[in-house]
Structure formats: C-alpha cells, structure tokens
Amino acid sequence: MADTGEGKKEEADYKRLHSFPLIRHTDMPEEMRVEAMELCVTACEKYATNNESAAKMIKETMDKKFGSSWHVVIGEGFGFEITHEVKNLLYMFFGGSLAVCVWKCS
C-alpha cells in the first residue's frame, strides 16, 4: 500500500499515472503480445463504459487474427482459474481500474 491520497489533485494524478497498460502475466510471443495489448487498449478506450462490448470486440478481433476460440474477461474485480493453450495468454491491467484477461482455448 502506498500514499493515502486525498484531494482531487491526488485523484487526478493517480488517474493520469495509472492509465498505461500494465501486463501482469503473459506467455505470448513478442509480436502477438504487442498486438493483443494494443487491441485491449483500443477496445477499453472505445467502450469505456461498457465492458461487455469491449470484451466482445477484443474476442472477435482476436478470433480473426489468431484463429478461433478466444476468451476475454474484463472487469474491475474477479477471480478466475483458466486452462489456456500455451503462448496464448495475456493478463493485464489498464486504466487504473480494469483487469483484462485474454486467452485462447479450443
């Protein structure tokens, strides 16, 4: 835990500082990871208020680009245990409050 931030300035600072995509866990190859990450960022920014649409967009785009059976979970708080094909998992945070988990498993 860190600074006990109070006041709007702190809040804004936090939002600004914590807006970058932060990859928590991935085993994708470099190229795929960059692409998936950018896609997640795009989708989350496009549907900032609707996680479902964002997840749908990510899933559909990933299906097109890397073959079918992709799964996407977006949320502010959840727990999961998944089985995925190796080299096909991306678990990242974005925008300071969102967690995105993208994986492939057919």
Partner: protein
Amino acid sequence: MPPKLPVKRHQSQGGTIGSGVKSVHSRISKTISKKRDEDAATEVGEGADEWTSAKTLIKPPDQLELTEAELKEEFTRILTANNPHAPQNIVRYSFKERAYRPISYVDQLAIHFSLDGNLLLRDSDEGRRQSARALLEAELAPVQSTVIEAEETELQEEGSKEDMPAAAAEEAAEGEEPAPPQLREQKLTNQFNFCERASQTFNNPMRERACQMEPPPRATFSATVNQWEIYDAYVGELQKLEKSKEKEKPKATAAKKDEKPRGRKLTSLESQGDDVTKVTKAAKIVERMVNQNTFDDIAQDFKYFEDPADEYRDQEGTLLPLWKFQYDKAKRLAVTAICWNPKYKDLFVVGHGSYDFMKQSRGMLLLYTLKNPSFPEYISSSESGIMCLDIHNDHPYLLAVGFYDGNVAIYNLKKLPLQPSYKSSAMSGKHTDPVWQNELVHSDVIKLSVEGTTMEGPEGLQLQTIGCGTSFDFHKKIDYLFLVGTEEGKIYKCSKTYCSQFLDIFDAHHMAVDAVNWNPYHMKIFISCSSDWTVKIWDHTIKTPMFIFDLNSAVGDVAWAPYSSTVFAAVTTDGKAHVFDLSINKYEAICSQPVVAKKKNKITHVQFNPVYPIIIIGDDRGHVTCLKLSPNLRKMPKEKKGQEVQKGPEVEIAKLDKLLNLVREPADKPEK
C-alpha cells in the same frame, strides 16, 4: 341278393345323400304298392348296381352282424325337413288377443358348419378382375410410364364418354380392362421352371486408418483481481520505473522495462555467434586436445615404445606404424613430394599431384603437424599437380613448389590464406614440361625440368643436358657442385660455374633415376635409386658404384638417415619400406616391411625426421604414414668398457670410410 340289402339298411340309417334320395323315392313307391315291389326293386337294383358287383365291399369294422331275418325286417321311417331339436312349443304374448299364443312358425334350419371358399371361377367377372389386378401390380413397378399412358388413355376415353350413363361407362371400362391382361398373361414365366441368378462383384477390402495429433500444450493460470490489487500493481510498477530512471536517465521509456534485460542478453549472444575468427585460437587448442586424447596411445608409442622384441633379434628391426595422415580432398591424388620443416620438427609439407601423365588433374599443398593427425594445418589447392617442393633452410616459412605445368611458385606460410606469393609464368621463362625437382638454396630457386635444362632462378643459369633430368641434389659443402639424375639412367655431376659442360657422367642405371642424395656426413658419397629395382651408393670420384642393392621392385625414393652415415631407407612400388644399415649388413636390408595395406598402393616418397626416429611415407592414394624405427634400426656402435664413446660427424665419416675401404680395395686394385 345279399349285397343289395345292406345298402338299404344303410340308407335307412341316413347314408349318402344321392342314394338316399333314390331310396326315398323307392320308399314312396313302396308305400303306394306294398308287396309286389320286392322283385321289381331287386331287378332295378340289379340293373343299376351291375358295374359295382366286381368290386369288393369294404365294411366298416363296427358294422353289426345281422341275421337274414333281421336283414329282411323293414323299418319304415319318413324323413322330413323338420329340425327334431327345434322347439315346438314357443309361445309369445299377443297384444292383439291379449293372451299367450303358440307360434306356428319355427325355424327349422340348423347350420352345423360353414366355410367361406376363396376359389373363383376364372371366367367369371370377378376372376377376370382379380387376374387383371394382379397383372397390373406386377407391371406397375418396372413400367410405370406405360401404366400412366394407359391411365391417360382411359381418362381420355372416360372424358369422351362423359355424357354417357355412368353404368354404361363402367361396363365399358370393365370390358376393356381385362382384355390387355389376358394378352400379357401368357408371357408370365412358369413359376416352377425358371431360375434366378445373382452375382456380386469383388469388393475391395475396407481399411480403417486413424490418427490423432498431439493436442496443443496447455497450461492453467489463475489469479484474482480487485481494485486494490490493480492499485498495488500500478504503484509498484511506477516505483520500479522511478528507480530505473534514477539509474539510467537516458533510457526512460515506460512500461517495457521488464523486456529490456532479455533483449540485451540476446544481442550479446548474437555478437558472440557472428564472429568465428575470435575463437579460432581457442578452437585450435581444443582440437589439439581432442586429438591428443583420441590418439593418446599413438603419442605414447611415438614417445616411449621401444620394440622389446629387438633384444632377441639379431640385427633386424621393425617399423611401427604411428599416425596416418589423410585429407578428403586429396584422396585421389598421389603424394609427389614430402618434406620436413627444418625448424618445426613436427611439421611437414606434402605435395599432391599425379605421376600418371595421362591423368593429370589438380594439385594440393598440405601441411600437417604430428600434433594433429586428423586435419592438415594449412591447405592450398592448385590447378596443376605439384611435382616437388622444398622449404627454405633459414626462413622455414618459405616454400618453393614446382608444378606439373612447368611453373614454380613460392608460398609464404605467414600470409594466410595460403596462396603463392610469387609464381613464375610464361613471361618470366617457365618450363614447358613438369618441374621435377627444385631446391631453395639461399634465396635462389633451382629447378629441374624434363626439358633437359637446369635453371637457376633469377640469374637464369641454364645447363643443357642430353637427357631429361628427373632429380638433382646439391653438395652439402661444395656449393657449386650438384648431381643430376636423368630419365635414361645417367647421373651427371655438374657445377654451377660451367653452363655447358659436365664434370662427370655416371652410367648409373638402366631406367630413370628417381632420386639422388648426398650423404649427410661423408662428402664424397651419394646414393641413387632407380626404377630398375636397384639402389646404388657411389663415391663421386669413382665411376663405379660402391654398393648395389636389388630390391625386386621399382624404387621410388631413397633417403639417408640424419643420425647415421650408414643408414638409409628406400621405398619400393610394391608397398615395402627397406631400411639399411651398412655397418651391420652390407648385403641386405635390416628391415624390409610392407607398410601400406594394398598391393595397388604404391609408395612414392620417404623422408626421415631430422630429430625423431620416425619416417614418413607417402603413397599414390594421398595417404601419408608415419612409422617409428625400432631400436635395432638406429643402433649405435656398442660401448666398450673404459672407452669413451665418440660421437659426431667425424665418427660417422670414419665409420663409413671403414666400410668403403672394404669395398674399394678390390675395385681399386685393378686400376693400380
């Protein structure tokens, strides 16, 4: 009439219907006229039953036996159609008369058995209709179209007869319908006299093949996320970033921090992989180590093994094969020249070419070291076959090479890759035929060619000889004096100072002289060998040979041992190496040993190592074999008690002189 009477009796009992009827008639007539009938009846009966009389009567087994009287007795019984079991006294209440009245009419019919038959008369309407229907059904499947056509025609007909009464139309249809089936009926096959045949074609056997691919590898991953976890992650990341910024300010690109170390590692690996030259030295050391391990036993033999069997042998010695040098690219090329490096005692040069003048191809110059028997140290290939080579005495990195095409080239081992640093050409006066032997004397190259000229490099000294020179050797001390062996077997003693004259001519051999060599110790003695199977030792002041050895095969090369004035080795084309020690045996070789595997393999050259007790032998398959001389082959004179063993060239000269004196005396006597 006995047979007649029982019939009657049976009739009365209710026998067969036909006769019963008759008897009924007869009884009626009997009732009319009672008595007179008997004869007449018998007459009638006789006449009617005449044809049955021949037949034997079959009696039922339970028939009563009756006497004549009983048979004659008559029972009168009237048959009526009334049912005896029918009730007679049925009464019904009559509403009209308001009283019960017996019913006069009683149903006399009793049905005992009834069976519906399914037989139809063929000619009847019903029969015809049925057969038509059966035929239609049979035809329906194979020829539907015709049926449809028939139906259509019927429809048309029906249409045309619309105004007719329905009954008439039906009649017409009925009349028409059965007609065609009757025609076709005759074509039906006899159901008892036809056979069906069926056959089945060969079916290819079915085979099932299945395979399953390995499923893509999977892994499980689990995590829990909530707001404070995300917050912690971001804060931790930011702190890490700040730290790294402090460390290295120029590289402050965000977020991808964790990838950087990996990238750096990769680049460092790549830079290593690219540059092979950096590890050449290390690789060479490792290669030597590996070779040392692989050929450890040979190295041990080379250093320490002394054949213990020599103790028990009187004079003979053996040659122990050590390393075998070969190189894939020089496999088919004969060894045409070998030479030890005077400075580096483990290094020797091998020249590859071909002695077969019909099949000349490329040449190869290889330098091997004893430390690495598996691969040559230096490699250089040339377009023309190498015929001879020599190493400069003072500058051991300089190599002179004579080629089959007549060129001479100088190689410098210091300059890599190994290429001729000087090469003669047609312009600078090359020979037109193979250069047979060359020698680096000081810095001049002297070469010998088939043309019959001996040429000294820069000065252009030419000696005209009558024959074709094949070999030559300079005197060790008298530097103008040299010997030339020729193709027709003569040896010329020449001097650099005279271009056109020879000092002496030795009528040495009957065939080409393959090698001439001055003795390293004794200044007057030289040795020659020839394809005429002989090796001869000469005093250059005397025209006849001192010693003659017949080796039973063409002698390819001969070489003096560096350690003794009386030891020399000769190689013959039948694959044998011969070592002689004149001080031990003046007539025979003390070692004569086949050293190459096949008979076809000819040995072409032999050279003593200047320091170690080993010789190298080259054959025409491109192999070079290294052999160790057993103790008997390098035996020094035995030490005598209280006497110091003398060593040095003087001793060696004295030793040889002593031998020569033995030979010389009888030869010199006639001259004196």
